[in-house]
């Protein structure tokens, strides 16, 4: 059998990374589930620094009635408090859905190294769908992007939420 990539206890480093990403994405999905139960668009996010979850949050826009209360932004603000500073170097942000322009902007501002997301957002996504400025060399920071981790689960949660929303509306 041919061996592509480095080995780590019988699996490749790429496979180990994939498993780690999926593990954290499952935690992000748990955060999304909390939003779902509140009647919020079900998006969850985590900030991880060197193997430690330093912040986790879910969308609270309707609950807080604040335009900025997206999962990623709240997680990054919490991460700044935990880390004691606004520069979140050496961190990965996990989020169940592709960030919007605001959240992609926060990721840039906080100097996050890597963003891992689940489902694409073709209507408002800013990490490849409508805009793609996290790797734009004209800005003073660039971010590694990993898309589509547990994509089906993340998309299924969004779909279930909007299906329920439409059912409720049609009942009225």
């Amino acid at each position: 059998m041919e061996n592509n990539g480095n080995q780590l206890e019988g699996i490749t480093i790429e496979e180990a990374q994939r498993r780690e990403d999926e593990g954290y994405m499952r935690l992000a999905l748990q955060e999304a589930q909390k939003a779902f139960q509140l009647g919020e668009v079900p998006i969850g996010a985590l900030v991880v620094r060197r193997g430690e979850v330093i912040a986790q949050a879910h969308n609270l826009r309707e609950t807080n009635q604040t335009a900025t209360a997206h999962a990623e932004l709240l997680a990054i603000e919490e991460a700044c408090r935990t880390a004691g500073g606004w520069r979140l170097t050496d961190t990965t942000l996990y989020v169940t859905v592709e960030p919007c322009p605001m959240c992609a902007g926060v990721i840039l501002q906080a100097r996050i190294d890597r963003v891992v997301f689940g489902a694409w957002d073709p209507k408002a996504g800013a990490c490849g769908s409508l805009l793609h400025f996290l790797q734009d060399p004209r800005f003073n920071h660039q971010v590694i992007i990993e898309a589509g981790v547990l994509e089906e689960d993340c998309r299924a949660m969004m779909k279930a939420f909007f299906h329920r929303l439409r059912s409720k509306k049609s009942e009225k």
Copy 2:
């Protein structure tokens, strides 16, 4: 004498709007001055709804050690609290410097009608300099942009700040 435009007590509506914009921009400059005194990049912002200032803020990134603490974002969060909701329809945001991608994203999220800014930011501006998505029809909201109001004053304050910063660094 030829009369171009509508008349309002002897001045055109465009001229009345320009004077009003300059008046609010002066208040935004006062906010920027507060940031300057704190050693923060001197940017100030206001949210105005039907002739009333409903929020004002200045950059507090270093003071708060939070990546999101830009003047515009803080002003919009305060405006959501004042207005009691995340939809800031019928509002104008005044800011002394062209918003970055994060703040342009917040403007979109909050459904702000109009943005008036002073100085351009060729290195990170997202309202015409590096990005220009506030009028992108693919998003679910578009924003009227008025650039260059009290541009010289706004730019002079930034210039003075960075000049002082460089002087301090060279003293060390």
